[in-house]
């Protein structure tokens, strides 16, 4: 592929996936700033690829590389500050006050989602935030397709059950 074409291709890929990858990475590393570095590195690796080798499964490639890099960062971070549980690192935003604002506007459903096991949360995120297929999610997370389907189904069922239970409780009161 010509350099100019490749460059357009990278920019288009950047436009399409930058936001999705950042939110995914931020969810893993717990910090937008480090997520940005992870995503930048992901795209630099893409620049080194022959487009023909990646094109057919671009989304899957990007998410896999991004995920691996993000977990590396998280592992290192854990070593650096062993007292911090990675699960409790709040996502911080770069604007003053933004974190609080986020806390307040964060939707109830997303809060409810936090009570799900982490593997369920991850597949939900990949499915509904980034609209990836079971197959792609399976390749990225190294879970089987059946397992991905099961996790998503179970997560949805749990969320639904809780919502309905609350709704019923409200009616009785």
């Amino acid at each position: 592929m010509e350099d100019a074409t490749k460059s357009t291709w990278i920019v288009a890929a950047l436009d399409q996936y930058e936001g999705h990858l950042l939110r995914y990475a931020a969810w893993i590393v717990g910090d937008v700033e480090r997520a940005r570095e992870v995503v930048q590195e992901t795209f630099l690796r893409l620049c080194k690829e022959q487009p023909a080798r990646v094109e057919s499964h671009l989304a899957q490639w990007l998410f896999t590389v991004c995920r691996n890099l993000a977990f590396d960062v998280r592992k290192k971070e854990n070593r650096m500050s062993p007292l911090k549980d990675p699960e409790t690192i709040p996502i911080t935003y770069d604007r003053p006050g933004a974190s609080l604002e986020h806390e307040q506007t964060m939707s109830q459903v997303l809060r409810l989602m936090d009570t799900l096991p982490k593997n369920q949360r991850e597949v939900l995120r990949l499915k509904f935030q980034s609209d990836l297929s079971y197959k792609e999610i399976s390749e990225i997370t190294k879970l089987s397709v059946t397992n991905v389907g099961f996790l998503i189904h179970t997560a949805i069922k749990t969320l639904r059950k809780e919502l309905l239970a609350e709704s019923a409780k409200r009616r009785i009161q």
Binding site: Y93, T115, L116, H153, S167, K169
Partner: protein, 725 residues
């Protein structure tokens, strides 16, 4: 039938993850079991809700300098990347934690550390960069320490535990209420209570497969045509790839433009019929203009030639008889290949007396908050608004007020004949920011009142995804304001967009008090119906389901090619099938189609199908010898009719030279030429930017609106960007 709601297949079905056989099985179960339908509907609600939730998450982007590092790396050839310029800090996430750990004070030491981390990881990286991502770094599976059983025992994380339980319960209850709302909206939609006409369209909702799996009718024709592509063109393999990949994952650039393969020449002896639906859209031309105005060439697949041709109005006489449409044909030499003939088929819709319908004063109040960015919201609204603008006349006025973080007048009240002004204002609507509707609605009413048309339709149209925040005004005040304005004759219509329309009740109340209607818009068809047909109720559709079928005479014609209309093709048998939808025509609209025809005796390269063994085509020599080159049949229905009417007109070629053709004919040919050059079409022949400019300059005609002049400017711009070819 007993169904097991715990089976993951239900979710897989809703998410479009099943194969054909599995899906058919599920659909059978859905037909026979109410319980199954309920399960699927519940899952659908939950998935819509989740999808919506994620769109609400704060959007984040890379820092500009990070993007810069990537784009400059992208510009370098593969292999040259490892030689980074010395001064630039490589964007290694590994260095960051060390930075922190070292502390800001120890700047010298930190500097050393950076140097150290620079060299080691880049060495590592070059070894790790195997082609497959799996090999890049060792994956650390999520949930290693957590249960993999799918959450039979739900593990609560520390944040959840620390949360105030009462508060949590209250919020969950709210969510449940929202789900309830969403369910109601769906039920209304199914019952057709929102829009009476909607009922027919969405009749048996549970049995309809997920959107991604519905067959795309446009492709069937493309597949047929692919077979006739000349050998050596890159078409077939690419098309096969595009078709094969037509699955429900976000494919690269799929969002943007579907792959278009030029219609190829078809030998008349192979298929004497061409069948297609009219297309009154003009979006592609506006899109091309947008690209060129940003000094960019439009992507090839964004160039739809029929939409370019139909962007311009042509001077076809209005039908005078009882038919609501009239057809006109013209034949002359094709400017890009003088041996070929160019046939123009023009259809004109009856002009309905503008004086007979009251003028409209419309003020769009558009929610441009961040959540409106998804394709089914603001972009769809914009397309629908343009369709509506198409129908407006001189006496009508349109204004646009936006609201998000701040509200403002985006377009002052503008006469409906200044379509280019209105359309470019629509084009420049972009989403971003948070919602504050209070000030917006005041501003919209002010604009409507200031431009009040006595005896006309005065209407504020609020378009939102439901995050309508009344901001500075409290809800009671707002409703009183709307009630008061309704008495003054300014009405309010509310259009809800997007998946989960949470503030449904608020919106409905607003519309109710505002003497208006409330519509929930989920598809482009719905948007078209509500905005074009209902909102501008008196702007008439004069014919619907207009289809064209052309039969070529093998005694005169060797081969033919329809220019454009690639995604409007119909199966031949669909022409007479009144159940098959096609495009509608509004009062005064024109539609133009061009055929490039290779006369008998002129050769053209077409990869031929082998001679058939058993078939022999018998020519009705008596009829074929009448000198007609083709016969046009048009079917249409009256706007309220179910049975189609047939019109027919034969075409004779009088060997007209291109320069002797009508002005409109030559201009349409120039537009088609331009499209082919932009698309690098294999059929562009002698077309160049220069030849397009030359033809267009001589065929501007009266050009009252200045569109044709603008066209010439655009071609010049394209020539500067692309060169003459």
């Amino acid at each position: 039938m007993n169904i097991n709601p715990d089976d993951p297949k239900w979710t897989a079905y809703v998410l479009g993850e099943l194969n054909d056989a599995e899906r058919a099985q599920i659909e059978k179960e859905l037909e026979s079991s109410a319980a199954a339908r309920e399960v699927v509907e519940e899952i659908r609600l939950a998935t819509d809700l989740l999808r919506h939730e994620f769109t609400l998450e704060q959007a984040v982007g890379l820092a500009p300098e990070q993007r810069h590092v990537i784009t400059s790396a992208a510009a370098r050839p593969v292999g040259a990347l490892d030689e980074r310029p010395g001064g630039r800090r490589p964007p290694l996430q590994f260095s960051r934690p060390m930075f922190r750990w070292a502390g800001v004070a120890a700047s010298v030491a930190a500097g050393l550390l950076v140097v150290a981390t620079l060299s080691v990881p880049s060495l590592l990286r070059s070894r790790q960069d195997a082609p497959l991502p799996q090999a890049a770094t060792a994956p650390a599976p999520v949930g290693e320490r957590e249960e993999r059983d799918g959450g039979q025992s739900v593990k609560t994380n520390p944040t959840a535990v620390s949360r105030d339980k009462v508060e949590s319960a209250r919020k969950t209850a709210q969510v449940a209420a929202e789900v309830e709302n969403l369910r109601q909206i769906r039920q209304w939609q199914q019952a057709g209570q929102l829009l009476q006409q909607g009922a027919q369209a969405s009749g048996s909702l549970p049995a309809v497969p997920p959107a991604a799996q519905r067959p795309l009718p446009a492709y069937s024709f493309a597949e047929n045509k692919v077979l006739t592509l000349p050998a050596g063109t890159p078409g077939p393999t690419t098309v096969a790839g595009a078709l094969g990949d037509r699955v429900d994952r976000p494919q690269f650039n799929k969002e943007a433009y579907d792959f278009i393969s030029d219609n190829a020449f078809v030998r008349v002896t192979q298929d004497p019929l061409a069948t297609f639906s009219i297309d009154v859209d003009t979006a592609s031309y506006a899109n091309i203009r947008r690209f060129l105005s940003m000094n960019q060439l439009p992507p090839k697949d964004s160039v739809r030639i029929e939409e370019m041709i139909n962007y311009f109005s042509y001077d076809y006489p209005s039908p005078t008889g009882r038919n609501p449409i009239a057809a006109y044909t013209e034949v002359a030499a094709a400017p890009w290949n003088p041996q070929h003939r160019l046939v123009r088929i023009g259809i004109k819709g009856k002009d309905v007396d503008v004086a007979k319908r009251p003028p409209s004063n419309l003020v769009f109040l558009v929610d441009v908050s961040g959540s409106m960015a998804t394709p089914e919201k603001l972009p769809m609204l914009k397309s629908a608004m343009k369709l509506m603008v198409e129908r407006l006349g001189e006496g009508d006025h349109v204004a646009i007020v936006t609201y998000a973080g701040a509200s403002g007048v985006h377009l002052r009240s503008t006469s409906g004949d200044k379509k280019e002004v209105i359309n470019s204002a629509i084009d420049s609507l972009n989403s971003g920011g948070s919602t504050n509707g209070g000030a917006g609605i005041l501003l919209a009413y002010e604009t409507a009142t200031a431009n009040f048309i006595r005896g006309g339709t005065n209407r504020v149209i609020l378009a939102t995804d439901g995050d309508f925040n009344v901001g500075i005004t409290n809800q009671g005040d707002l409703i009183r304001l709307i009630e008061e304005k309704a008495k003054s004759g300014v009405f309010l219509s509310v259009l809800g967009f997007g998946m989960g329309n949470y503030k449904d009740s608020t919106l409905e109340k607003l519309a109710d008090k505002g003497n208006g209607n409330y519509a929930y818009i989920d598809t482009m068809n719905e948007a078209r119906k509500v905005l074009v047909e209902e909102m501008t109720g008196t702007l008439l559709t004069i014919a619907k389901d207009v289809k064209i079928q052309v039969e070529f005479n093998p005694a005169e014609v060797n081969a033919y090619r329809l220019i454009g209309y690639e995604n409007r093709a119909l199966q031949h048998q669909d022409f007479n099938d009144d159940k098959k939808d096609a495009g509608d025509m509004g009062s005064g609209q024109t539609v133009t189609a061009l055929f490039e025809v290779v006369p008998r005796g002129v050769e053209v390269a077409i990869s031929a199908v082998d001679q058939l063994k058993y078939q022999e085509r018998v020519l009705d020599t008596r009829r074929a010898a009448n000198g007609e080159i083709l016969n046009v049949r048009i079917r249409y229905k009256d706007p309220d009719g179910n049975t189609s009417q047939l019109m027919e007109t034969p075409v004779i070629d009088r060997r007209t030279a291109f320069n002797n053709a009508s002005t409109d004919f030559r201009f349409a040919a120039a537009v088609a030429s331009f499209g082919m050059v932009l698309r690098d079409s294999a059929h562009k022949g002698q077309s160049t930017m220069d030849s397009v400019i030359e033809i267009a300059e001589k065929s501007r005609g009266a050009d009252k609106s200045g569109y044709r002049d603008e066209f010439v400017q655009l071609v010049r711009k394209a020539r500067a960007l692309k060169g003459n070819q």
